[in-house]
């Protein structure tokens, strides 16, 4: 699924040089941080993400069983899957493979967040490189890069990810690369357009007047001042990446064993038991929604906090 919302117009306009700052105001990022701390929406988002990150990192300590272990293999029969609390020792019940649902949710946090973070990092890195080259160099480099980005954009992003994953073969890395590549176009376009809109700004003119080289202007002035929208988009893209990863798993991509502890996978294999054991679908599904919600809340508060239009309230 492509970008959730169109990027905020304008972007960040900050004093480029702290020396100009008279001291009565605060810098853009510090100001944004102060405003984030006061925004309940941002706090809810940050707490959600913090909790899930903690669970993901501490999975080996928190989970009663390993992610791929099937401790309840002997307790399941083709007709009955013990639900939450049915058997002692499995608070959230078993799945159809005999895996402990609680443990799998915990290990799943690790797998799903890892896919989300790595793929977004890939997309961010690739997109920033292209956007920087296009926005910084302009001319034919810009044209060539933007035509390439157009090709990437000519297919809806989830379908692009599906095609790439299908091409790369069945593995988690394929999923990460596929989602990452499908996000490149958003970041590239965003960074380029923000840089273009900043190019006419007074502080750039000032830097040119001072005789700074084009590289210095681009890297030390244009780029840092164009990062706001990109960072907002990266936060929002983390949500999309987690959701898209689940979708790819549902379409049978990603490889590994069916009982692999990953939310999308758990959701996929719960489909057959929807009538008898709906919790097998609802629990991992809820985890995905809550994680995506956390990233979205944080991303949108960040957008608000960085938006100069709402800044002086």
């Amino acid at each position: 699924m492509s970008t959730i919302l169109p990027p905020a117009a304008g972007g960040s306009v900050a004093p480029a040089d702290p020396a100009i700052d008279t001291g009565r105001g605060t810098g853009l990022w510090k100001d944004a941080y102060l405003r984030l701390r006061r925004n309940p929406q941002a706090i809810v988002g940050a707490v959600i993400i913090g909790l899930f990150l903690l669970v993901a990192v501490l999975a080996p300590l928190l989970a009663p069983y390993g992610g791929d272990e099937l401790p309840g293999r002997t307790s399941i029969t083709p007709t009955a899957i013990p639900g939450p609390g049915a058997i002692e020792g499995f608070p959230l019940g078993l799945d159809r493979f005999g895996g402990d649902v609680l443990s799998k949710l915990i290990w799943g946090a690790r797998a799903s967040l890892l896919i989300g973070v790595v793929s977004t990092a890939l997309g961010l890195a690739g997109g920033m490189l292209l956007g920087l080259l296009a926005g910084g160099l302009g001319g034919w480099v810009d044209s060539v890069i933007m035509r390439f980005v157009d090709i990437l954009l000519s297919v809806p992003s989830l379908l692009l990810a599906v095609s790439i994953a299908a091409m790369l073969g069945q593995s988690t890395y394929a999923i990460m690369i596929a989602i990452g590549v499908s996000q490149i176009s958003i970041f590239a376009r965003l960074l380029r357009s923000t840089m273009l809109s900043q190019r006419g700004a007074d502080y750039i003119l000032a830097a040119q007047t001072l005789g700074l080289s084009r590289r210095t202007i681009t890297m030390s002035h244009l780029l840092p001042n164009s990062m706001g929208p990109v960072i907002v988009q990266a936060t929002l893209s983390l949500a999309t990446a987690v959701i898209d990863a689940a979708a790819l798993a549902y379409l049978g991509l990603g490889g590994g064993l069916p009982q692999t502890a990953e939310w999308g996978r758990m959701l996929t294999y719960a489909q057959a038991e929807l009538g008898v054991a709906p919790q097998l679908a609802f629990l991992p599904g809820a985890c995905i929604v809550i994680t995506a919600l956390g990233f979205t809340l944080l991303g949108e508060s960040l957008r608000e906090a960085l938006d100069p239009k709402t800044r002086r309230k």
């Binding site: 699924m1 169109p6 035509r147 809806p156 095609s163 689940a246 379409l251 009538g275 599904g285």
Partner: protein, 334 residues
């Protein structure tokens, strides 16, 4: 107008050209080569050689590309490995189902989304505003196939209100001319068949329409909020225009431009969402066919589908751009 259309279509050519090169290289670079991908890992060298000769995989890359491109331009997308029928034919038989589903989803998303977003903005800060914001937040974070699970579980399994899957009940013996089942039922006068087909569309339509709905609510709300305090709205009020006129011709019409853009952008989401939704509801459209193609590594289908979607997507975006001039006379002048 025609010049604009012509220019946009001309711009499409390099994009599709680039896409076709990427797709071509993709299939040529499959693990083990295209013949192995077609036949499977256990293929004998003789069989691989035969396939290579049959499809021309042994010829120089440029010749292969030109042949491939020539066939594409003639509308020949190749033959599906799974079904043995031409890819384009397979699309044609399944496409009406997906269009039907997408239309229902879009009607739901637009029909509910715009009024809800408008009401939320008018009652800014009140209960309806807050609930629409929360609902749309959940709407954009829920994976479409998970939502489909929930709907299917509640309405089809738990309460048995609506059919759980398929496009039409097997007991119904309907005649199909167009492939649009609801339309077919209405045209032939088999109203029970049309109604049955419509019932089958509700759950997948709701599932597919929810994400666009959430986004449309948000954009409409934001856009109306921005417009409703504009100077010209105040002027219209001061002139003593009727409130209905102000809301319809001043606020809503001016607020629609970003909403139309958004609806256009959602069509990409709808196409990808259809792949997932159709799979959950065993709805025999193009999306489900694609899923089977992914599982069966049916490369001609995947390749054709991507080109097909890219063209479709570009045409939709063109229509969206052209619709601006209908909504906003200012665009027409430029």
């Amino acid at each position: 107008m025609l010049r604009v259309i012509g220019k946009r279509l001309a711009l499409l050519i390099p994009t599709l050209f680039g896409l076709s090169i990427l797709l071509f290289l993709w299939v040529r670079n499959l693990p083990g080569g295209p013949a192995t991908a077609l036949l499977g890992e256990k293929a004998t060298p003789e069989a691989i050689a035969r396939i290579n000769e049959l499809y021309g995989f042994d010829r120089p890359l440029l010749t292969q590309y030109l042949t491939y491109m020539g066939r594409l331009l003639q509308g020949d997308f190749g033959i599906s490995i799974n079904t043995g029928r031409p890819v384009l034919e397979e699309f044609a038989t399944r496409f009406p189902a997906t269009i039907e589903l997408t239309i229902i989803a879009l009607i739901f998303a637009v029909g509910v989304g715009i009024p809800l977003g408008y009401l939320a903005a008018r009652h800014n800060g009140r209960f309806i505003d807050h609930s629409s914001v929360v609902l749309s937040l959940i709407g954009i974070t829920v994976p479409v196939f998970f939502l489909a699970f929930i709907l299917k579980y509640l309405f089809a399994i738990q309460w048995s209100l609506l059919p759980p899957d398929g496009r039409q009940s097997p007991r119904i013996d309907a005649t199909h001319y167009t492939g649009f089942y609801v339309l077919d039922g209405l045209l032939t006068g088999e109203y029970d068949a049309a109604w049955d087909a419509f019932l089958h569309l509700i759950l997948p339509g709701l599932a597919l329409g929810t994400i666009p709905l959430a986004i449309i609510v948000r954009i409409t709300r934001a856009s109306v909020l921005e417009v409703q305090n504009a100077d010209y709205v105040r002027t219209a009020r001061a002139k003593g225009l009727r409130e209905g006129t102000i809301r319809g011709s001043f606020i809503l019409r001016n607020a629609m431009l970003p909403v139309v853009t958004t609806i256009g952008l959602q069509l990409g989401l709808l196409i990808s969402g259809a792949v997932l939704t159709e799979t959950v509801f065993a709805f025999n459209g193009i999306g489900r066919f694609l899923r089977d193609a992914i599982f069966g590594l049916d490369y001609p289908v995947l390749q054709g589908f991507i080109i097909f979607i890219a063209v479709l997507y570009a045409l939709i975006n063109l229509i969206v751009d052209l619709s601006y001039s209908v909504i906003d006379p200012r665009v027409r002048v430029q």
